[in-house]
Each structure stands twice: as C-alpha cells, then as structure tokens.
Symmetry: C2
C-alpha cells in the first residue's frame, strides 16, 4: 500500500494472510454465507481496523451498480421550506445508510437537466425532484435511465408525487381570516402572489375561492393577484392595489415567504393603525415572521412527513403515477 492512498482489501489480505475475496466477504458481512471461519474473520477485521480501512465506494458501485447515493434536485437552498426539506431528506438518508446529494437548480430547466444527467452518471439509487420546472422532461430521463424517482411540491402526472394539500391549506387559512375578521371584511379579501401556471399556485387559488364560496362570498376573479413569487413583484402588486383602493384591503392571503417580504416592505412605509386594519394570512411558515409584530395565521408545510412519504415510494420502487397530498398545518398566532 502506498502511504498516500487508502488501504484496500488487497493490503488487508496480504497482512492477514488471506485472499482478497475472503476479506471482502468478511468486511461486507456476507462471510457466513461463504463459510468463512470465525477466527479468520476476526483476524481480518482486526487488520482492517489497524489499517484504518474504509471501502472504496466507487469500486463497489462499479461492481454492483448501486452507488449508495440518493439525489435531490430543488430550486434553492435559501428558502425555509426547501431548507426543511433538505434537512428532513438528509436525516432520512442517514437512516437508510445512503449518502444524500442535494443540488439546487434555481428553477432553471437547463440546470435541472444537467444536474440530473450528472446524478445519473453517479448511478444514483433514487431521486427526489422538488419544485422542478421541467418535471415531465426529468421524468422521462429518469424512466429511460431506470432511476426510481418521486416528485415533491410540483407533481408530475406520470410518476409518484407528494405535495402539500394546497387547496385545503389555503381554504383553512382563508376561513381562519374570515373568521377573525368577522362581517366587517365584506368582500374585501385578496390573494397575493404566485403563478397560475404552476400547480401549487393554482391549487391554492382554488382553495381561496372555495373558502369564499363557503363563506357565501362571490368568487370574484380579480381578487387574485398572481404576480409571481418574487419579493419585488409582490411589492408593486400590493402598491398598485393600495392605490386602487386608497388603503389596504381588509384581508390579504399571501402566497409565499418571498411575497410576504414584499408585503412587509410595502407595509414598512405605512402607519401602524393602517396595518392593524388589515387581516393577514401567509402560506408558509417562518419563525421570525411568526413573531413579528403583525399577528397573523400561517401555513406550515410538513416537510418531514412529505419526505417520509416520498421515500416510501422510492423504497418500494413504485413507479405508478400517484398523488399524495399532505395536509399542511395552520399555525394560529398566539393571542396576546
């Protein structure tokens, strides 16, 4: 063994006076099946420990075509929901003895596809695809490369998918707002942010309208300001609404943390009393936001549950299309 490189089973074999195949069998646990003597096994393990052996996983992967890598493709790390997913994914991978490879791709089709090919080059054992733009394309590549995969957040109708129950969540959130606000709110409740081309936004808007219906309010189309997910777009969209109404609406459902930032940015220019006249509700949860001086309900998506469900599909090598909806949690503000 060269001092600069890691010891191999051959080094161990030499030192323990055994054959490489015996060493391999002992070290990967199949030695019972191969009828290796207990003392030989002990001797080999001893030498392995002395040498500080750790298997070359590339070599094993080459032979077995199983890499031990589970991949996750997601839009960004610096977003609290996606970060919770990463965290839960890492922990679930650890339980399975696999190595997580989490790649963020900025909702960019090319980056998504490149990263996928890259992961396939590493023979990923399984893949979780979160909020992907090119979901259908990614699915086809995975199918052709025979990689088990699940979609999360943004479903694909040709593969197993796990999403938050967007409609139910927003419906509950909206009803909570209507309830807190009482009759005074009239018909003046708005939905801010999101992109109606995307599944999640569409479902949330449906939930919003279902809540209005349930409350006996007309589901007026222009109450939905689907201006995208960005902070600045929401800022301007809200500014525009404020201009039209001459004040804030009575109720405002906000579609994401990014939009909430835009909202806060706009609010920071308004006096306290004006803000107090509006009832806010936010999809997604952020601990700081939950404690900020504006009291409002929030929706917390159950990242850990979603990851667990997603792994169930991967573990079962289930390829049939399916859609699992996880009901998010409504976090009511502490009543002071």
């Amino acid at each position: 063994m060269n001092d600069l490189s890691k010891p191999t089973i051959y080094d161990i074999a030499t030192k323990a006076a055994a054959s490489p195949s015996t060493v391999s069998a002992v070290l990967n646990g199949s030695w019972k099946k191969r009828r290796i003597g207990a003392e030989t096994a002990d001797r080999i393990r001893q030498v392995a420990r002395e040498l500080g052996y750790s298997a070359n996983i590339q070599a094993r992967a080459l032979r077995t075509t199983k890499s031990g890598i589970v991949g996750m493709i997601l839009p960004q790390h610096d977003n609290s929901f996606f970060a919770s997913l990463s965290q839960a994914f890492t922990e679930a991978s650890r339980e399975r003895g696999a190595m997580p490879a989490i790649i963020s791709t900025r909702r960019d089709r090319d980056q998504e596809v490149d990263s996928l090919w890259n992961l396939i080059g590493y023979s990923v054992d399984a893949l979780m695809i979160v909020g992907a733009k090119a979901h259908d394309e990614l699915h086809e590549i995975c199918r052709d490369a025979n990689v088990p995969h699940v979609f999360v957040d943004q479903p694909c109708n040709a593969a197993p998918s796990v999403v938050s129950d967007n409609a139910a969540g927003v419906e509950e959130l909206t009803l909570a707002i209507l309830d807190r606000a009482g009759a005074e709110i009239g018909e003046e409740i708005y939905f801010l942010g999101g992109d109606s081309h995307l599944y999640a936004s569409r479902k949330r808007i449906e939930g919003f309208q279902a809540a209005l219906r349930q409350a006996g309010l007309p589901a007026i189309e222009d109450r939905v300001l689907a201006c995208g997910y960005s902070r600045t777009a929401s800022f301007y969209s809200l500014q525009d609404l404020y201009g039209r109404l001459g004040r804030l609406p009575k109720g405002l459902i906000i579609n994401s943390m990014g939009c909430f930032e835009g909202t806060l940015e706009f609010l920071s220019e308004l006096p306290e009393q004006e803000i107090a006249m509006c009832h806010f509700g936010v999809w997604d949860y952020d601990p700081i936001a939950a404690l900020c001086r504006i009291s409002m309900p929030m929706i917390r998506q159950k990242a850990e549950v979603m990851i667990r469900k997603a792994f169930v599909h991967l573990d079962a090598r289930d390829t049939a299309p399916s859609l699992t909806k996880i009901k998010p949690e409504l976090i009511l503000p502490r009543t002071l």
Copy 2:
C-alpha cells in the same frame, strides 16, 4: 448493451467500429493528444449522441481516483446563514464542473466523523467543513486521507480557514447601537447568546468589549449573557435579565437568529412602548427580521465571498494553516 442499463464506451465502440480506448479519448476530450482523426471523432460523437451515452462516473473515478465530488459538512440546512453557504457552494461547484455533496450533521461529533468517512469512501476531491464541532479530529482524518479541506465559520488552527470577521462586525454593530442610542444608554448595554467556548462567540464578545472600550464605557463582564445558541435558552436568559432590571436594558446585541427568535418570543409579551425603549442589534441577517416592526441594525455575513475564498484554498491545494477573515456587512434599518 442491455436495454435496462446505460450504454458504455464498448457499445459505442462496437457501433462506431472503433476501439473502446479511442471512444474514451474522443469523449473525454483527450483525442487531440492521442492523434485521433477528426472524422473518427465525429463518428464516435454521433453514435454517442444516438445512444444517449453518459459516462459512468464511478468507473472513471475508480481509474483516476478523482471523483468529481466536492463535499461540504455543515450543522444544519434550515438556518439562513448556512443555507446561503449551501447555495453559494452549489453555484461555485457548478462553475468548477463538480458535483456538490452537502451533508448536515447537527453539530454532532459522531455524525460529523461518519459523514466524513463516508465522503472519503467516495473519494471526494475536496471538502469544506462548516461550523464543525470536532474540527481538529476532522482535520486529522482529512490529512491522513489526503483530502484537501478548508474550514469555514469555525476555524481549525492546523488548516486553512475562512471566517467572518466576528470581532470587527460586532464592534461595528455595537458602535452603531451606541451611536443611535446616544448618551442615554449609559452603561446599560448587553450581549445575548452564544457559547464562549466557541471561536465565533468568543470573537464577537471581544468585538463587543472593544466597542465599549472605544466608547469609553467599562467592559463589565456580566454584560455578556452567553447562554448558548438556542431559542429557548435566550428566552429564559432575557426573561431573567428583565426580572433583574425590572425592565428591558437600553441596548441589546443579539448573537444569532436563533437567539433573536427567543428575544422576539419574550418581547411578544411586552407592550410596544417598552420595546421602543430598547435598541437592538443582531448578528446575522434575515430578510423577514429586517422588515419586522422593530427597527434595528443587522450583520450580514458574506456567504458567497466566504465560499469563494474557501475554494481558492482548495483549488490551490493549499494545506498551510491560515485564517482569512471576511468583514461582514452592517445593514442599517431604513430610516422611515
């Protein structure tokens, strides 16, 4: 080629009537050096495209002992500073054509060590170690396994390290608070959170005291409440201080977002006017916090710069101990 598995250079070689080594040379770009004819090269590339070839990176890694993987070990994904580091790391890896493997280890020694061995099994090309508890041990393992590595956030004095300039940042932050508060603040300014056994906290406390000195205030020891990084610990620590003083202090420097959450939780029980009497400053930046109704300066660590500097060490295969301090940015609240 078996239909279920990916095509290999052998499949291409057969179909293009060439040898596997030629195919390899063409596909990895070394064909000029190996004097392969341009038309042969074209033919091979054509076949490769038809077959949807992508290299088996495990096999390449086995042969070349370069995996193309760059690893990052960090405490958690769901923290805005660490999440920015992950994001910057991913982008920097992409530029280098490497695959990022980001593993969170919950500040747990065993998880840190396990993950490191795991990464070594994959022959990681380079490693970034963020906020590690077992930094010295990790360094030794990396050294023995001959893995280029850099420490970030928590330095190791035996290897290159990149950290925020904690002392300078807190000093600036504290001076900003003292400046905003004016003479009224007297000596009543506190530092909340952190662990004085950890490098970062120690330096921040030094910065705090340097600022006091500079302002001509005595550096009284018990102005530092190093209660740890957790939300609940900060909550109780602040509650305790409030009890002792009978009210909030005039100034409060908060050591992290987690501590800030605890602070907000405590403040949420106080009336607005009391809160307005205290000047807050926070180490770390969070967009929501920046927009919450409490106006305060914040320190934003430069995650992207830190990652870039760290990669400089890795790329240069620089193993000499060194400590690069990146000055964080002071974000002043918008003056309304």
